[in-house]
Amino acid sequence: MKKSATHKRILSISRKEFLHIIHDPRSLIIIIIMPVLQLLMFGYALNMEIQNIDMAVIDHSQTSVSRDLIKQFEGSKYFSVFYYNNPLSEVDELFLNRKARVILIIDQDFQRKFQRGLGSSVQVLFDAADPNAATMIKQYVNSAILEFNESHNGKLPQAIEVKPRIWYNSDLKSDYFFIPGLVALILVMISALLTSITITREKEMGTMEQILVSPVKPVEIILGKVLPYIGLAFLDGLLILLLGIFIFDVPFIGSSFLLMLLSILYIITALSIGLMISTVVQTQQVAMMMALAITLLPTIMLSGFIFPLKSMPLLLQYISYVVPAKYYLIIIRGIMLKGNSLFQLVGQIFFLFLMTLILLGNAIRKFNINLEK
């Protein structure tokens, strides 16, 4: 008897929260559209190659060999070459005005040295302001020069033949890794951010007291309030997953049941973070900023979502142990892309479970203390 009353109360709070979400179609659309937009943008925009790099050429040699070398660059899809005839002292203008990313300078005695067979050098200036781009451009220049050398000397003798074999994703596409990551991000964003705001909203608007004098128990309030968001998070995550599978051909090898089960665990972890926040803050503004600070940034940066954790300084690697997405990413990528089994993911599940217990326990305790005040 008592149980069904609890049921009813939770459901009616859920309905109220659900109506609140529905009443504001714009926010709802943003919640749903944003991840899709992000998916499409990253999916289509993220291209690890740079093409048509502006290259300025200063050819003081003006010989057949130097023109050959320039042709080598002109023939490459990576470079778009133009000649620059102003005095050398003005080359920095090229970088300052972003007219060129790389400058090739060929000296006067270039051909003479080249033909004597002592090796001739060319000067290459890089705009290294963006170090990642500079590194990549350097590789392109290097391989163009290597090709030039080979075409003038015949293939150089190779002692070792390296045979790379790439598993799971032989084109090295970034979508496979990115799309499951996006799911992890969306689940945490909706669960943690929205719940923290929704409870704080009642506080700020002064409607919390009204609910409290009703016969509803605190646990029922919380459950009722978060249920619609769990549903929303689930749907949104599913949408991204399906889009990823159908548009970007991300494989799904493992058990979808296992993934669903563990996704619920992850959502509960994220909800506990949101609850935790809502118990300590008073205004939506603070709740929002705090949720952004402790969920959004770490989930993107300290989980292995885009950048591998092992490349980071140790301190940040330690911090990553308390980022739930770190574990969930291994779970979702493992199940989807490698077909990992429950047994292989025990460590991750344990950590998520532990984190949830600690957070939820604290949140409920704090919530009760606040109510008594």
């Binding site: 504001d24 714009r26 943003i30 944003m34 992000q38 990253f42 289509y44 925009a45 993220l46 291209n47 740079i50 300052l96 005005n97 972003r98 067979g117 090796g119 290459v124 302001a129 170090p131 990642n132 781009a133 500079a134 590194t135 220049v141 290097n142 020069i145 050398n149 000397n153 150089l156 190779q158 070792i160 033949e161 390296v162 045979k163 790379p164 074999r165 790439i166 799971y168 994703n169 496979y176 705001i197 909203r201 608007m205 300590v280 803050v281 205004t283 939506q284 503004q285 603070v286 929002m288 705090m290 600070a293 940066m301 092992k310 490349s311 940040l316 493992g334 490698k338 990992n340 292989q344």
Partner: protein
């Protein structure tokens, strides 16, 4: 004017009323700086590696040693068992395996294209690509140790070597230090977040809790009301910029090479855009949650096509054209060029002009909308 001053004092009191907000406003940029400064890089380290040396000869051991001695890779296991290699990759324990087959050294010494296998888990395509590049680079050393040796090979043969070397110079960032590039970007993002998001939420808050009417019956004029609302965020934005620059200098030794006044002046110009957007968002929303979502939407869109996360050069053509729509694109270039390259007013004109046009249009349009809304 007096009314405005009082309003400003009220606003600042409201913003800093809670301890958490102070922590967020001053702590968040620092946290953001540290996390982004250290994490966004294409440099890959400690890739987990399995070594399978089935040859166990002098040369194969030498190759193994050079993989052990680099911080690019961390050796997690040595095994000659194919099954264990496959297992480790399936369980995410290793990302790359190097397999030196039996009989390698004989082929190597006779220069018969001795074979080495590199096995990579390609799921993290980016890391795998870079790691394979590193591995091939290391093996390259055993191929032809250096140019000197290359020349020796050729001198021994009849033909002279007609070879070109690259003498490289890296301008603006000799050490290829990533923070030098990231931190100016973080400034642009922070400026956008603080000015647009916080100001729109703050304006809507008065509406949501019903205090906007109260403010309107005060002797404050409409423009004073608006000024009182946005000036605090303008000031805060500059404080945040200062914090990031100071921490950037101490933690990451990022020096501003260009002129501080130029930087501040152009940031001021950019604020017309973001504050204007903040005002605009507040006119089309009625709750803080809505304001947050809408400004979040604008923000993500603006950042995505600004070149902050994905460099503009890496985008396909139509996306590159799309970036001209993002006002942040121009500001991002300006901040980076002033800090990294000491760019002057003239060479930045091609960004300053569109940014200013954007700013004025957006600001004027949204103030008019706000005035109408309020009356």
């Amino acid at each position: 004017m007096r009314a405005l001053r009082i309003m400003l004092i009220k606003e600042f009191k409201q913003i800093f009323r809670t301890r958490e907000m102070i922590a967020i406003i001053f702590g968040l940029p620092v946290v953001q700086l540290i996390i982004l400064g250290f994490t966004i890089t294409n440099e890959v380290k400690n890739v987990s590696l399995i070594i399978s040396d089935r040859d166990n000869s002098r040369i194969s051991r030498e190759i193994v040693r050079s993989f052990e001695n680099t911080d690019r890779f961390t050796v997690v296991n040595y095994t000659t068992d194919q099954k264990r290699i496959e297992d480790a990759i399936q369980k995410w324990e290793a990302q790359v395996a190097i397999i030196i087959p039996r009989g390698f050294s004989q082929d190597y010494e006779q220069r018969r294209n001795a074979e080495i296998q590199l096995l990579a888990d390609g799921l993290d395509g980016n890391t795998a690509g870079i790691a394979l590049g590193y591995a091939q680079g290391i093996l390259q050393n055993f191929q032809i140790p250096d140019n000197i040796k290359l020349r020796a090979i050729h001198e021994a043969s009849v033909k002279p070597a007609h070879i070109i070397y690259m003498e490289e110079r890296l301008w603006f960032n000799e050490d290829l230090d990533n923070a030098q590039y990231m931190i100016p970007g973080i400034i642009a993002v922070l400026v956008t977040v603080i000015s647009m998001m916080l100001s729109s939420i703050n304006l809507v808050r008065e509406k949501e809790i019903g205090t906007l009417e109260q403010l309107m019956v005060t002797p404050l004029k409409r423009h004073e009301l608006l000024m009182g609302k946005i000036l605090p965020f303008l000031i805060l934005t500059f404080v945040e910029m200062g914090i990031v620059l100071i921490f950037g200098q101490y933690i990451f030794s990022v020096q501003v090479k260009g002129n501080y006044f130029l930087l501040a002046g152009l940031a001021f110009l950019f604020l017309f855009t973001t504050l204007g957007l903040g005002i605009f968002i507040s006119t089309i929303t009625s709750t803080q949650q809505q304001a947050m979502f809408v400004s979040w939407f604008f923000m993500v869109f603006m950042i995505m096509i600004s070149g902050f996360f994905i460099p503009i050069d890496n985008m396909p053509d139509f996306m590159q054209k799309l970036t001209y729509l993002s006002p942040m694109r121009y500001f991002l270039y300006i901040v980076r060029d002033i800090i990294q390259k000491d760019a002057g007013f003239i060479s930045l004109l091609k960004d300053i002009i569109p940014m200013t046009i954007y700013g004025l249009l957006i600001f004027v349009a949204s103030t008019i909308k706000f005035q109408k809304r309020v009356s």
